[in-house]
């Protein structure tokens, strides 16, 4: 699945962006399938906005986001829903863990959503063990720390099939050791699917073997 950006400019940041140079905004970019892509972005440059554009939950931009050669708006709701179920997964910066559910239920919700679960429950348990959150799976989402929520959000993103994984500062609340474990799990899962990812973050890092770097 090919994702292309065609002179994409967010309307709210328009003036700010046109005053400086960017590798992403207002350019022609093609994300090659299977690539590990890092987008480094200082605060306020529209990092989260870009992630929302890529996942098509915000559309206040000029230019186009092309998916399979078609702009998002040209795809039907059914197609978009299927894409989100099977081809593109996401880790939001604000994590969006449901506080009414336990950590385990948050993951389960996503796992059984498709009717035919992609991952087995054992696989989930295995991933939880790798990220050291087995003991909090029965805890309410309300009582989880940000670090725990972040790891729940990562596993939640990995229980579905995908060709692209979009991540917005996925390790911001994790210590170095846990960040490394999470990065390793993500890399494994991407390779198993022959999938690529687009990761946005504030700083440079060497947690992944990135194929391409962009500065937002």
């Amino acid at each position: 699945m090919q994702i292309q950006l065609d002179n994409l400019v967010p309307v709210p940041l328009r003036d700010k962006i046109l005053q400086r140079s960017s590798d992403v905004w207002n350019r022609q970019i093609t994300f090659t399938p299977g690539n590990f892509i890092k987008i480094k972005a200082p605060s306020g440059t529209g990092k989260t906005t870009l992630v929302h554009y890529l996942y098509h939950i915000r559309t206040d931009y000029t230019g186009q986001v092309l998916v399979d050669g078609q702009p998002w708006s040209a795809h039907s709701k059914a197609t978009i829903a299927t894409m989100r179920q099977e081809r593109i997964s996401v880790i939001f910066q604000d994590l969006r863990v449901f506080e009414q559910l336990t950590a385990g239920e948050n993951i389960e919700l996503k796992r059984v959503m498709n009717g035919q679960p992609y991952c087995t429950a054992e696989k989930v348990a295995e991933m939880a063990a790798k990220l050291n959150i087995t003991h909090i799976l029965h805890q309410s989402g309300r009582t989880l720390s940000y670090g725990e929520r972040q790891r729940v959000a990562i596993i939640r993103a990995l229980v579905q099939p995908f060709q692209w994984l979009i991540m917005d500062e996925p390790f911001s609340h994790l210590d170095e050791e846990n960040a490394q474990r999470a990065a390793q799990l993500i890399a494994e899962e991407c390779k198993a699917r022959k999938a690529g990812f687009i990761l946005t973050d504030l700083d440079n890092d060497t947690r992944f073997a990135y194929d391409i770097h962009y500065n937002l």
Binding site: K77, Q85, L101, M113
Partner: protein
């Protein structure tokens, strides 16, 4: 065992915020509905009770209305008569379906039994429009050429005689048929002017307590023997759908009019029941409104709380669900 997807979804949507409010609103709604239903039930029950028994055969009731005779009015005949304005006022009341005068005689009437019965009495006649009479009889007509006057007696009158007077005075009791068979000698007069007729009883009325003659006779006789002045009626008769209508009873009370109290006895009960029913209904309605208000606020609250925090996420979840089968 993990709950199913829909159980999880339900758990998200039922946030637990305002659960007590939801229970209260549901309870309130239940009570409101019960009150409303009770009001409707009581209303229909009472209506059934009132109309199925009382008006089984007739769709309407007739009331004879007169002014109450008080001590102050005694000796002043004019005060018991209805003025034109009062009559007009009665006619325009909503509960009055039909209206008629009871016309009195303006001449002297005497009646005597034929043969050796030695019965002689002064009496009076009245007439009402034919539509108000409950006795249907082909003989009930009179033209100036007829020498026989058909007369309708009140049933009560015969009963008074048979069971009160006759028994105590050792006189024979008389059947309706016998009374009808006796030709009475009726003499009407005014001063020196006298005319004799044969009076024949043609029926007995339960509705109007008076000695009735056909309107045509009354008109003719009043013209011939009367003093020429058209007298105001002191009794009127109305036809009404519901004699227990509280509005009717209140009207009669306010004006100081009298009627058959037995017919309007349900009025007070009806008034009380109506008041209770409307109070219950009113509170039911108020409660219903409040319950609905709380419900709408509850729904708003849930939507707002979902929207604020989980807009995209929930939207996305729902999007995935709704296209799951396609």
């Amino acid at each position: 065992m993990m709950p199913s997807f829909y159980q999880l979804l339900k758990k998200i949507i039922q946030t637990g915020i305002g659960r007590s409010r939801l229970i209260m609103a549901t309870g309130g709604l239940g009570i409101a509905m019960i009150l409303l239903l009770i009001a409707i039930q009581a209303h229909s029950d009472f209506d059934q009770l009132l109309y199925s028994q009382q008006n089984a055969n007739e769709s309407a009731d007739f009331l004879v209305i007169n002014k109450k005779i008080t001590n102050a009015m005694m000796g002043q005949r004019g005060q018991s008569m209805f003025t034109a304005a009062e009559i007009a006022d009665i006619k325009q009341q909503s509960f009055v379906e039909a209206f008629g005068f009871i016309t009195s005689n303006q001449y002297k009437v005497t009646a005597a039994a034929p043969g050796d019965l030695h019965f002689y009495t002064d009496m009076f006649f009245e007439s009402v429009p034919d539509t108000f009479i409950d006795v249907k009889n082909e003989e009930w007509k009179w033209t100036p050429a007829d020498n026989t006057i058909p007369i309708i007696l009140p049933n009560d009158f015969l009963n008074l005689y048979n069971f009160g007077f006759a028994l105590s005075q050792d006189l024979p009791q008389i059947s309706q048929e016998t009374v009808k068979a006796i030709p009475m000698k009726i003499t009407i007069s005014q001063g020196l002017l006298t005319q004799e007729f044969t009076g024949r009883i043609v029926g007995f009325s339960d509705r109007i307590s008076s000695f009735l003659v056909p309107g045509s006779f009354m008109e003719w006789a009043n013209a011939k023997f009367g003093n020429g002045v058209v007298a105001s009626p002191s009794r009127v008769i109305i036809k009404t759908k519901d004699p227990s209508n509280p509005a009717l009873v209140k009207y009669l009370d306010d004006k100081g009019y009298n009627t058959n109290q037995d017919k309007i006895k349900y009025s007070k009960t009806k008034l009380i029941v109506q008041t209770i029913v409307s109070v219950i209904g009113f509170f039911g309605l108020i409660l219903l409104l409040f319950a609905l208000l709380v419900f709408s606020m509850f729904v708003q609250l849930v939507i707002a709380s979902c929207k604020k925090k989980y807009n995209y996420w929930l939207h996305w979840v729902l999007l995935l669900v709704s296209y799951n089968d396609t």
